[in-house]
């Protein structure tokens, strides 16, 4: 179940990719995230679990400032990536989002060709000097997302014509194409069938060697399968965070224990 050797994880404990300190999020008067402190480690998968409405998505969307697009949303506290405050006025959210990619709950390919779906990000950021380079980015992104074999002969067909699971992997390829360091995934498998889910989970496990991945999931089995660390949220509070196997086998908090044994949620 936990295929990463213990020592390897311990080794990485010292370095931190994303650090959040005393983060508060408000939607108007609703206090959705309260005093969250968390350190997220590079090149590993961190899972956010918790009952629905507890603020997992809200907190995840703070990490690439997606909440900026919601008028009534206000974020306080400090979030740093590689030691740099992402809410600093000097930081442009556009630049941040190129570095912190996102995959959404419902697969949302653009109603364009598969090629254009992936080429869109590199194009707007000017990552390719010519067509050959762009082709290279598209094919390598599809390969990394494990979609190359299925898609290579139909790059001109609309992305919306793929199956749900393929669409979600296309969205992952699209995120990879701009060469991010962090990939945020908000319940990426909740709209997929079990076989497609297994493929995406396998993919997440592969991507972990190159990317820092934060995944929100409502499935505890999924958290256990793909993540090295797990954070449990409850009513906007980060209740407990630690190695996934510790959270699942030996939770310290009563609420965590109740949740993973299925007493609420």
């Amino acid at each position: 179940m936990f295929d990463t050797p213990h020592s390897a994880i311990d080794e990485r404990l010292s370095d931190t990719k994303i650090a959040a300190k005393k983060v508060q999020v408000f939607y108007g008067d609703t206090h959705a995230i309260k005093d969250v402190d968390i350190n997220i480690q590079p090149r590993s998968v961190t899972a956010f679990i918790g009952p629905s409405g507890c603020g997992k998505s809200t907190f995840l969307r703070c990490l690439n400032r997606m909440n900026d697009t919601i008028d009534i949303c206000r974020v306080e506290g400090e979030i740093t990536i590689d030691g740099e405050d992402i809410y600093d006025p000097k930081v442009d959210p556009v630049q941040l989002r190129a570095k912190v990619g996102m995959v959404f709950q419902k697969p949302n390919p653009f109603p364009k060709s598969i090629y254009d779906n992936i080429a869109y990000g590199p194009r707007i950021h000017g990552l390719a000097k010519n067509k050959a380079e762009l082709d290279e980015i598209v094919s390598s992104s599809l390969q990394k997302a494990g979609l190359w074999n299925e898609a290579k002969d139909r790059l001109d067909e609309p992305g919306t014509g793929l199956s749900g699971g393929q669409q979600q992997r296309l969205c992952i390829a699209r995120a990879i194409a701009v060469n991010p360091e962090v990939i945020l995934m908000d319940e990426p498998c909740s709209a997929l069938d079990p076989i497609a889910t297994a493929k995406v989970e396998e993919l997440i496990d592969e991507l972990r060697t190159n990317y820092t991945i934060v995944i929100v999931t409502h499935s505890m089995q999924q958290a256990a399968r793909v993540s090295q660390r797990t954070a449990f949220f409850h009513l906007g509070i980060l209740v407990e965070e630690g190695l996934t196997q510790d959270i699942f086998t030996n939770p310290q908090d009563k609420r965590t224990q109740d949740y993973i044994t299925g007493r609420f949620g």
Partner: protein, 434 residues
Amino acid sequence: MTDITSEDSRKALCNPTTEAVRNSLSRRNRKQVLLQSFGIAAILFAMGMLFILLGSIISSGYHAFTQTHIQLEVYVDPEEIPADGLPRGGFNDVLAAAMAVHFPGIDLADRVAKRELTSILSNGAQFILRDKVVSDPSLIGQTISLSVPASDPYDQLNKGLVERDTPEQFRRIDDAAIARFDRLKELGMVSAPLNTALITNADSRFPELAGLKGALVGSFWALLVCFLISFPLGIGAAIYLEEFAPKNRYSDLIEININNLAAVPSVVFGLLALAVFIGWFGLPRSAPFVGGLTLALMTMPTIIIATRAALKAVPPSIREAALGVGASKHQVVFGHVLPLAMPGILTGTIIGLAQALGETAPLLLIGMNAFITSAATSPFDSATALPTQIFIWADSPERGFVSRTSAAILVLLMFLVTMNAVAIFLRSKFERKW
């Protein structure tokens, strides 16, 4: 045993809810039937009215789609029409001579008899002949075959719109005139071809010569100006309001005002245009350019509202997807949202333009109901538009304009139906299921 079961089932039936439902059931069903029949009656009434309307327009309008013509063998007499300097009266005399061939008893020196004879021909016949001769002077001295329109009273007669049983004094043409026309008919000189003049001629005082070209061209210029102004401005305003403007009291106020603007009676826009465009800016009266500006004022709210609805209908997941890979706000709007909203925007625009095409009152106020006998060559020339042309013709006393008014209405309706069909086609073709 049986007693008990029947007792039980009776009890079940007497359950108070069942009882209440059963009591009210027939009343409820009656209500439903009543409501349905009321709805059907309303639809039948509306359809009936539509049929009557269309029926009356078509039954009077179809007469205008043909025009009675007289076929003449005209000797272009060099005595009457010398090659140098074309005389005014000469052409009429040549035509009269061509007619008189078939009426040996008529003396062309008798001016009344001559006028009676040539009154069968349209007043425009001499100009048709002149244009022919001017474009080809070698015709002088030859006999040419010429088909010219008959004048309105004889056109009416030929179409059976003049009752021959009516006592002579109540008719526009007397028995002798009818006899002369019947003689031409016997000679096979009367035909009723398709009335192409209805499209190729501009307005005229003579119904048989009057056409819609001026109105069509005027409407075209006005709609073009209307489109070029209202489309970019409307879309720009809608994008700003929907995507960029902060949501506060001021944007609410603007929204309310735009919605109200769409409901302002069109005559008010006409008054505004008269005061501002013609009064202050000194733009020419009767010009399609001013008409287009006025119509743009009316069309813009429609386009803004349609565009905002189309932008709203683009699912947030597409915006999130683009933002998620680092697109900036304007890249999201212009690269994704706007293209996806385009079919809806175009549909709204076409419907707005169709409304503008049929709009009459504001054009009357800026003088687009003038009597103009040539088609505009630029949007600054005086012109009429389709609806104002209908208005002018409906107001004209000549009998021939009755059917021409209906025919013009049919032409206008055809354009409106076509535009709406295009809008429906666009909507169904590009409709997306997300």
